[in-house]
Amino acid sequence: MDRWVEMLEIKDLKVAYGRVRAVKGVSFTVEEGQIVCLLGTNGAGKTTTLKTISGLLRAESGEIWFDGRRIDAQPAHEIVGLGLAHSPEGRRIFPRLTVEDNLRLGAFARKDKAGIAKDLQRAYGLFPVLYERRAQPAGTFSGGEQQMLAIGRSLLSHPRLLMLDEPSMGLSPLMMQRIMTTIAELQQEGVTILLVEQNAQAALSLADYGYVLETGVITLENTGRALLSDERVRKAYLGED
């Protein structure tokens, strides 16, 4: 970890839904091998930012650079192919498809069969419960298992950058811990992670660097540890007075 290389760079991003502007000029960078956390309350623009990066939404203005390539005009299905995966908010698994079909859909943008098989094994190795229940429809799963599936699914595109939108949402503390451990494991494997969370404690203790997003602008940024001890963060996101 001697030299950080910029993997994702966002420059003055503005996104609007009709006339309502949700992201009002956001700039940040994610460096290779890091876990970067986007912190913020509901409606701060976190999900909108992720959706714009992955091409599901179009930016009004601003630039998105991934791996030295400008991607803000590219369609979503091409962006996945570049190695940028997005595990959307609310998991969005396909409830009526089997676990295996779900996972294979994660690899939709790829055509190398051997690589897909390898990544399938990797996902099963990471979450053995998925392997045990691979023939079952995903809708029968608990929230935590669905989250595992969602993460496993996004791993099948063999991403170099993985964007996770609120992976701890609606999970029991135990399951949340399990997910957070997995995220740390993924970083060890060399996957760069952009994490959006409301659970500041868990996210920041994991993150190398963090940004605080409030009503569409970044108000604070620092290393994860520094943010965790920052008075303003503690007040606003950790419930201390």
Binding site: S54, L56, P75, A76, H77, I79, V80, G81, H86, S87, P88, R92, I93, F94, P95, R96, L97, D101, R104, L105, G106, F108, A109, K111, E132, R133, A135, Q136, P137, G139, T140, R153, S157
Partner: protein
């Protein structure tokens, strides 16, 4: 089908009595086949004799005997063989319900055909009464857990034998049903078939059959194709039935194309008939007859591909602006496209603009095909059996249908097929997974249109004439109904749906005016009791019955014993 159940405690108490009553009812129904059912010989296939059952009565006899057999089996093997469960009581219930429906239909048919219930003889009343009592009695039997016979290991020869039997039965059903000129017999026979399938389904035998034949897919497909190929030879040179059969094949091949669009990609297309029509018109314009509007007559293979390409191009033209919007708009626009097509074909009569279609008269002579020196218009004699004009077309349509099915299943099991299903399930999530949503939708639309276009080019020659009035909205809705009723996304279901919907109007001329009413009723009933269609793809089944305990249990069963299954099994003892 979920009817309000009777409490388990009551069932336990009256179960043994109900068993005896059910057995008795089955025997009485079987015996009633030897009694006269009607006073006049015109009803059904003459059911007036004492002691000489007609064919329709013979089937009732057989089914009557199966009912006690199922009940006896349920006593002898309450849970089936070892760990494998057979749904004896489920089957008995389905059979009793079916027999009741059958006797109601029979009584109805006799009344309609002879003019009043007065013409029903005592035999039919006995059968009806026994069926009614049997129906009630089976409700008191304690049901066992969901059948699991499909997990039984089956030796190869048995699977092949099962395939052969299924094929022969299907050939016979098709032969017999097509041969019936009496609508009463036809309807009764179709109901018999339906009841037979329902009993197989409920006992779990259908699941076993599917699993056994699934292991020998190639043999199964080959056998099915062979049987269909042999069908014209059972007709003894008669072309009347072959004409119907050819229409069924055109309809089935078109429905299979629509199945890609609706069943796989989940796009609602209400103007699909226009693609069939455009293919037919292209073929007619290029047919080289006196009526053809172009002075070019390419070989039919070229015409066929051209028809498909024209239809696919139309699909792209309609699809590219509309597939970006959500489902409802697509339905409206395709509906409008169907109308635009019909009106354009009506108006391209040369009064202003080019004369391409001769307007509403259409191109009334397309001539017969002649491929590799084989004249489709002539009667050929093969192995001493005359093969007429429609039989010739039947063969080429059969080959085309086989190709369409091949394309469909290859697409379904491919990466593209998975993408389509993902789009149908959750478009936004699919997009996030890297599925090119718009591109794949467009591909579904265009490939569906292509298949319909090619089918249309053959249809133009089968029908001899091509007129705009044969390609109207009603036909689109029939195609859609065939897909939905049969089972979206399945091959077998859509084939069955298309066959039934095309065969019914041909055989039931007497309901002609009420055809649409019956059709609407059928749709309502189906949507209430079996929304996934006659044959359900596993995915679809889950979609419509996600609160169905049985299904959940069966899926659970795939993982080994579950506590729920054991509890149900215990209750049935």
């Amino acid at each position: 089908m979920s009817l309000p159940g009777i409490p388990v405690a009551i069932r336990r108490r009256y179960g043994p009595v109900a068993r005896i009553v059910t057995i008795a009812c089955g025997v009485i129904i079987a015996a009633s086949a030897y009694l006269p059912w009607a006073y006049g010989s015109d009803a059904l296939d003459n059911v007036t004799y004492v002691g000489g059952p007609s064919f329709i009565q013979f089937i009732a006899l057989g089914m009557g005997l199966v009912l006690p057999a199922l009940v006896v089996c349920s006593i002898r093997w309450p849970a089936g063989f070892g760990r494998t469960r057979v749904g004896w009581i489920r089957g008995a219930r389905a059979l009793a319900t079916g027999l009741l429906i059958i006797f109601v239909v029979i009584a109805g048919a006799i009344s309609v055909q002879l003019g009043g219930t007065i013409n029903i003889n005592y035999g039919a009343w006995v059968g009806l009464a026994a069926a009614l009592i049997g129906f009630v009695a089976t409700r008191f039997l304690v049901q066992e857990g969901a059948p699991t016979v499909n997990r039984l290991k089956t030796p190869g020869w048995l699977s092949i034998l099962a395939i052969a039997v299924v094929m022969l039965v299907m050939l016979f059903v098709a032969y017999y049903a097509l041969d019936q000129s009496n609508p009463g017999t036809f309807v009764t026979f179709i109901v018999y078939t339906g009841v037979g399938v329902a009993v197989l389904l409920r006992t779990g035998a259908l699941g076993w059959l599917t699993a056994a034949t699934g292991a020998h897919r190639r043999v199964m497909l080959l056998a099915a194709f062979l049987v269909a190929f042999l069908f014209p030879f059972t007709q003894g040179g008669s072309d009347a039935n072959m004409s119907i059969a050819a229409q069924v094949l055109v309809f089935a091949a078109t429905a299979m194309g629509l199945n890609i669009v609706v069943g796989l990609a989940g796009l609602l297309d209400l103007g699909y008939i226009a693609f069939l029509g455009s293919g037919a018109f292209v073929a007619a314009m290029l047919s080289g007859t006196a009526m053809a509007t172009f002075d070019v007559h390419p070989p039919f293979i070229v015409t066929m591909l051209l028809s498909g390409c024209v239809a696919a191009t139309l699909g792209l033209v309609i699809g590219s602006p509309t597939l970006r919007v959500s489902g409802d708009y697509l339905a409206i626009i395709t509906l409008a496209f169907g109308e635009i097509f019909r009106l354009s074909m009506n108006n391209l009569d040369g009064s202003d603009g080019p004369d391409l279609t001769h307007g509403s008269r259409g191109i009334s002579d397309t001539g017969d095909l002649n491929l590799f020196g084989f004249d489709f218009g002539a009667t050929h004699t093969i192995a001493g059996i005359e093969i007429g004009r429609f039989a010739n077309y039947y063969f080429i349509l059969l080959i085309w249908l086989a190709i369409v099915i091949l394309i469909f299943s290859r697409l379904n099991n491919s990466r593209i097929g998975r993408g389509w299903v993902a789009i149908r399930e959750d478009e936004k999530a699919a997009e996030a997974m890297g599925v090119n949503v718009f591109g794949l939708k467009l591909l579904a639309f265009a490939s569906g249109a292509f298949l319909a276009g090619v089918a249309g080019s053959i249809k133009a020659h089968v029908d001899i004439s091509v007129t705009p009035d044969s390609y109207v909205f009603l036909q689109s809705s029939f195609l859609l109904a065939a897909v939905v009723l049969g089972g979206m996304g399945t091959v077998l279901g859509v084939l069955i749906g298309a066959t039934l919907l095309q065969l019914m109007p041909e055989k039931l001329r007497f309901v002609n005016e009420y055809r649409l009413m019956f059709f609407g009723l059928l749709l309502v009933v189906m949507m209430r009791f079996r929304p996934e269609g006659i044959i359900a793809s596993e995915r679809r089944q889950l979609e419509f019955h996600d609160e169905d305990e049985e299904l959940a249990e069966r899926l659970d069963d795939n993982l080994g014993p579950s506590t729920g299954a054991v509890a149900v099994e215990g209750a049935s003892r």
